[in-house]
């Protein structure tokens, strides 16, 4: 009798194990977990874990299994090989992650061939999404923020001449062109467009030249993170604010997670971005609170985290709608036009036509609140779609 019971138990266990297996959706997550970009990967990974922890019940009995891989930074051949392995060996049904443009570009042929829906968590060069019908993006594009920022800057009193300073790679080029286009269309004149090599660490010479040129506004783009801290320090040290040169930029130059390290930066820097941790929306307050509960009171989520968070929201949406049976064509159909009004950044949508993100852009002012620097949202530009698409219509197929 006892033997029979054990046998039944074992059988039940086996049956339920196989059933659970059939109900598990495997998601490949390619990001940078070592090297100089490890902190970015960490911010994304934490958001992924937090999302699953909070929402696992909503897709039950289906389970989601995240298979993480470290692409070590902007290394397209590594990202490509890892993705290839995720597809052929791990048999993932969905892919996500990708911090860097070259990495995302390199996997386009793979996801085309294997037909794996891929949700970009970060890479922001406009042209990426056109490389494959299987791409959808929930992060941002450089044009989305730099172009309206250029328009806004041109409207400001006494600002006629601008100067642009960007990191010399595709997102930097996108930012530069977008800002200049917005600024000159508004009647301004851009006096110099300088591109700094990617591995620049000493920004003083570049900013000294800006000081000598005395533009009314200075537009800077560098990748968010430690580099941003360096250029902001140089900006403060050289006294450009006192010289009357207004600094504007995208959110990358005042990233939320770096603000505690930017103590001597002057207030009043204007940035355009889709997310600030300081925002007062209920969804954002809940998000930041949950984040601090999970990862400590001094930890601050950033736009990297929100990109990962919304990618997970989109993934959970397609899993829920298909009850765990992922079909590539149906998944892309579900992603087109997907929207989430309760994202920490406010309303966010994937455009039905372009598969690219549509979202609010917030004009923020760097302010000191209770001794802490924050990006205070002062103006909202609702539901911006990528202006680059408008200026560069897709070639006919």
């Amino acid at each position: 009798m006892r033997l029979f019971r054990i046998a039944t138990l074992a059988l039940t266990a086996i049956v339920s194990a196989t059933a659970a297996d059939a109900q598990t959706v495997r998601v490949g997550f390619v990001t940078s977990l070592s090297g100089p970009s490890a902190s970015i990967g960490d911010l994304m990974d934490k958001a992924v874990r937090l999302y699953i922890e909070q929402n696992a019940a909503s897709i039950a009995p289906v389970r989601v299994e995240i298979i993480r891989r470290d692409d070590t930074g902007p290394n397209p051949e590594v990202a490509r090989r890892l993705t290839q392995e995720l597809i052929t060996r791990e048999r993932v049904q969905l892919l996500t992650g990708y911090i860097y443009t070259p990495n995302a570009m390199a996997v386009a042929p793979l996801i085309n061939e294997a037909r794996i829906p891929t949700i970009i968590m970060n890479a922001g060069t406009s042209a990426i999404v056109r490389q494959s019908q299987m791409f959808a993006r929930v992060s941002f594009t450089m044009w989305q923020s730099a172009y309206p920022l250029g328009q806004w800057t041109a409207r400001q009193q006494g600002v006629r001449r601008s100067y642009t300073l960007v990191a010399d790679y595709a997102p930097g080029h996108d930012s530069e062109q977008a800002f200049i286009r917005g600024f000159t269309e508004g009647g301004g004149q851009n006096v110099a467009a300088v591109r700094m090599p990617m591995n620049t660490v000493d920004f003083a010479p570049f900013l000294q030249r800006v000081r000598d040129e005395r533009p009314d506004a200075l537009f800077i783009f560098v990748p968010a993170g430690v580099v941003a801290r360096g250029i902001m320090k140089a900006y403060a040290d050289l006294g450009l604010a006192q010289a009357g040169i207004r600094l504007v930029g995208q959110g990358d130059i005042t990233p939320d997670e770096e603000l505690p390290n930017m103590t001597d930066v002057p207030e009043g820097i204007i940035t355009m971005h889709h997310y600030s941790a300081d925002a007062d929306r209920p969804a954002n307050r809940a998000f930041v609170e949950a984040w601090r509960r999970a990862y400590g009171a001094n930890s601050t989520p950033s736009f990297y985290s929100v990109g990962a968070w919304d990618a997970m929201a989109a993934i959970f949406h397609v899993i829920r709608e298909q009850r765990g049976q992922i079909d590539p064509a149906r998944t892309m159909e579900l992603l087109r036009g997907w929207e989430n009004p309760n994202s920490p950044r406010g309303m966010v949508r994937i455009d039905r036509e372009t598969r690219d993100v549509v979202q609010n852009e917030y004009l923020r002012r760097l302010e000191r609140v209770d001794g802490r620097l924050v990006n205070r949202e002062i103006e909202t530009i609702p539901m911006v779609s990528d202006p680059w698409v408008r200026f560069n219509p897709a070639p006919p197929r």
Binding site: L33, S34, A38, D42, R68, R69, D70, P74, N75, P76, E77, R80, R81, Q84, E85, I87, T88, R89, T101, P102, M105, A106, P109, L110, E113, A114, T125, D168, Y169, A170, P197, M198
Partner: protein
């Protein structure tokens, strides 16, 4: 060389000199091991072809470092030149793999010859610095020439034509694996011939005693420049293979880090013995792949620990350990 000296002790000196170039059965072992993964580990083939490519790269480094004694930290320059040549050709509409590889070899070889003529006048640390300068300068050039190389964004849009007009480069990397294995096999035969030729012996002579080689009338610098250019050709082919099989090229192909990494892999296997590359590269890359999978966040720590252990306890690399183990067994016999 210690192993050869031991061989000589067991047989007569002339015997060893006469038979040393003959193929021993053990030398075919790598080629036997290359075949089963095609069926057994078919989902590991992208990693497999990367290993084969890095073996070729390490083999080319062994020619100049192990045999000719030229210490370099800039060998990735030629790897990168090959990768960019093959990549740029394929991205601009010429995706034929074998001619692309030939072009990669030609560009890398020509650069190797020209730079070799200039920098091989120097010795020791000066030479080391100059090799470093070459890789850094070329890297910066590739970074600046964004219109050609894609700059920091990497070269994309590489489309390869089918190999020999028959085999498409597939998602599982089967074609890439066989292609890389075939190229490595041909290169191995070539390198083996060089090493056992009088030319190859004279290189070892230059490494061991330059003054004596000068004294007996060997054109030392010509020999050095020649082998430097040959190694550059092989490195260029390896780079070209990487570009063609992964269909992407980024600035990382041509960095000081890559030069350092290949040096570590070669040292891990054993320098100056032809098969160090075949042992060190797979050992390092398979360990790294597994560590990165088990611990995606802290895997660099484990790789570092592994290298420290090897440096502390395994001078002469893995093949050095094998030698010592064999010595123990042989000596115990009466």
């Amino acid at each position: 060389m210690a192993p050869h000296a031991r061989d000589a002790a067991r047989t007569s000196p002339v015997d060893s000199l006469v038979t040393r170039h003959r193929l021993r059965p053990l030398e075919l072992l790598p080629w036997v091991l290359v075949i089963p993964p095609y069926w057994l580990f078919d989902t590991y083939l992208p990693l497999g072809s990367e290993i084969l490519i890095m073996v070729l790269f390490a083999l080319s480094l062994d020619l100049i470092l192990g045999y000719a004694g030229i210490v370099t930290l800039g060998h990735a320059a030629f790897f990168g030149l090959g990768a960019y040549t093959a990549g740029i050709l394929a991205a601009n509409g010429w995706g034929e793999p074998i001619s692309g590889l030939a072009a990669a070899a030609a560009v890398a070889g020509a650069t190797g010859y020209v730079t070799g003529r200039i920098i091989l006048r120097a010795h020791g640390l000066t030479l080391l610095m100059m090799t470093l300068v070459i890789v850094l300068a070329l890297n910066e050039a590739a970074n600046r020439m964004g219109w050609l190389t894609g700059g920091a964004d990497g070269l994309s849009g590489i489309e390869m034509w089918p190999l020999l007009g028959l085999f498409r480069f597939d998602l599982y990397g089967r074609t890439g694996y066989v292609y890389a294995a075939a190229v490595l096999f041909v290169a191995w035969i070539f390198v083996r011939r060089i090493v056992h030729s009088p030319f190859g012996r004279s290189l070892t002579g230059i490494r061991e005693n330059v003054t004596r080689m000068h004294a007996i009338g060997v054109p030392v610098r010509t020999r050095q420049v020649t082998i430097y250019a040959i190694a550059a050709v092989l490195a260029g082919i390896a780079g070209g293979l990487l570009a063609q099989t992964t269909q992407s090229v980024a600035l990382t192909v041509m960095t000081f880090e890559r030069s350092g990494a290949i040096l570590i892999m070669l040292v891990l296997g054993g320098v100056g013995r032809l098969y160090g590359a075949f042992v060190g590269v797979p050992a390092y890359m398979i360990a790294q792949d597994n560590l990165a999978r088990l611990d995606p966040v802290y895997w660099y720590f484990w790789v570092g620990l592994m290298l420290v252990v090897v440096v502390l306890f395994a001078r002469g690399g893995i093949l050095g350990i094998v030698d010592r183990a064999r010595d123990l067994v042989v000596r115990r016999r009466p």
